[in-house]
């Protein structure tokens, strides 16, 4: 069910307050909502919320036969279907434009950027590899589900631990988590995604982490995924309001700053959670 377009007073109020660099939720134009990460009992279960936008990520690992053309690599699949739980505008079975965008971006940011090393997922070449399955549940849409989903997915992958496997000749022994401590995935780098919304009036500055209203009234969106080492993984501006080269580069620099801050927040939270779990080492 398509939601009604924003009313004229809503539109005018948003535009006039943005012109004075005031956002409706009190943030500055270049301020993201503080991410809150909640870890579950299982390793690899994370709920990420950016304000009222909430996404749940869950990572599971299974041993399977590898693809014949890639016998030395494991597999990573991402499942991200938006159910009407997120918002009544999403219908089950019919991917909306936004869902397709999110699925494609997640694929680019988490899989194509080689964040997780696939060769380390190989157990027995040509016969047994790990198939890592990342499932994302979109619990609530208050704008910018993409950034929330990328964050949840990435943190879940960092949080996940797979069982330790011993290979002797052709024999594969999987150790229970109670026998041997499970091992984390080999993660090359941690990409974070930031979305900026632009408006048709040049007097209105771009905003980061748009809310639903800002997203609907925007005339263009730029998504940028990068890691804390100043490496851009994905930069996507598909149409929308044309921007100066300088504006784009300014946005990139802001994203670099935010990536560093977010990386520190994520690391701190992961450490905090890990300290709270009882891990026995015999």
């Amino acid at each position: 069910m398509r939601p009604p377009s924003p009313s004229i007073p809503e539109k005018e109020f948003l535009f006039s307050s943005l012109k004075e660099s005031l956002r409706l939720d009190g943030r500055l134009p270049m301020e993201i909502r503080a991410p809150i990460l909640t870890f579950g009992d299982d390793l690899g279960w994370v709920e990420c919320s950016l304000g009222k936008t909430r996404v749940l990520a869950q990572v599971e690992g299974k041993m399977v036969k590898p693809l014949p053309e890639r016998p030395f690599e494991g597999m990573i699949t991402i499942h991200s279907e938006i159910s009407p739980m997120a918002s009544s505008e999403y219908e089950p079975g019919r991917p909306s434009d936004e869902e397709v965008t999110i699925t494609r971006m997640l694929d680019k940011v988490l899989k194509r950027s080689d964040a997780v090393d696939k060769e380390s997922l190989c157990i027995l070449a040509g016969q047994r590899v790990w198939h890592i399955r990342l499932t994302l549940h979109f619990l609530s849409d208050a704008g910018n589900m993409l950034d929330c989903a990328c964050l949840a997915g990435m943190v879940a992958l960092k949080h996940f631990r797979r069982p330790d496997v011993e290979v002797v000749g052709d024999e594969v022994t999987v150790h229970q988590p109670t026998e041997r401590a499970p091992i984390p995935l080999a993660i090359h780098h941690t990409p974070f995604c930031f979305t900026f919304a632009f408006f048709s009036d040049p007097a209105i500055p771009p905003v980061i982490d748009p809310t639903q209203l800002e997203q609907r009234l925007s005339a263009g969106v730029l998504s940028i995924a990068l890691n804390a080492q100043r490496e851009l993984c994905v930069l996507q501006k598909l149409g929308g309001v044309p921007l100066d080269t300088e504006e784009v580069l300014k946005i990139v620099n802001i994203a670099v700053q935010k990536a560093k801050e977010l990386n520190n927040i994520v690391d701190a939270r992961l450490k905090e959670d890990w300290a709270g779990r009882k891990v026995e080492v015999r």
């Binding site: 950027s113 080689d114 490496e231 851009l232 930069l235 996507q236 501006k237 149409g239 044309p242 990139v252």
Partner: protein, 220 residues
């Protein structure tokens, strides 16, 4: 053993004999294709794309129209056909679409010119072939030359921010070069058409009409 293709050798030549900043041979064919209102075949080296534009015409699917306005002949359909693929596919598609829209007589604010760029260790390269695209981090940039503003930027491979800035600026400038090619192709096509229309009437009148047409073209 391994005869790996060198992306950029010590002499500064790429695998297809081009220099670092050299763009591939670009050919534009604006002759009519089938029943389309406007069409263009654009070739960048070995990448060839055909775009046909139909419109403005009656909207086929009511769900695509804006509900609170009258919709008479508002739909423009763009059909893109990839004939040959050798890298820089999005670049060719965007350029061909712009030319097809111009050919169909649809009013545009400006041309949209696209080019790809990549970075090989620290050397930026322009207009990548398929081999280069697979090996290097690459970005596609589309600009509107009158204002120099960027309408599309897409990059899906890892690249350091400083390298990105360099190639991004370079690609923006290269877009203007592509614009020059597109403009001259449109001009020559227009003058061919004007000559064909003008033949039969007085020669002087035909020449004056051509000059007027040229002057107006020069504004773009």
């Amino acid at each position: 053993m391994g005869s790996r293709v060198e992306i950029l050798n010590e002499g500064g030549f790429r695998s297809d004999g081009r220099r670092q900043y050299e763009l591939r041979d670009m050919s534009i064919d604006l002759s009519q294709q089938g029943q389309a209102d406007g069409s263009a075949v654009v070739t960048h080296g070995l990448t060839q794309v055909l775009v046909s534009v139909f419109g403005p015409r009656e909207a086929k699917m009511r769900s695509q129209t804006i509900h609170d306005r009258a919709n008479i002949n508002v739909e423009i359909d763009v059909f893109v056909q990839v004939l040959q693929q050798d890298g820089a596919l999005l670049q060719a598609c965007i350029n061909a679409t712009t030319l097809a829209l111009v050919n169909a007589g649809i009013p545009l604010l400006d041309f949209v010119c696209a080019v790809t760029g990549g970075v090989h260790s620290t050397s930026p390269l322009l207009d990548l072939t398929f081999l280069e695209e697979n090996d290097l981090p690459n970005v596609t940039v589309a600009v509107m030359p009158k204002t120099g503003k960027v309408t599309l930027v897409t990059m899906e491979t890892r690249l350091h921010v400083d390298r990105f800035e360099e190639i991004f600026r370079l690609a923006g400038d290269a877009g203007k070069v592509i614009h020059g090619e597109m403009k001259s192709a449109v001009r020559s096509r227009t003058s061919t058409l004007v000559t064909a229309m003008g033949s039969g009437s007085r020669v002087v009148g035909g020449e004056a009409a051509e000059k007027d047409g040229d002057d107006r073209m020069n504004e773009y």
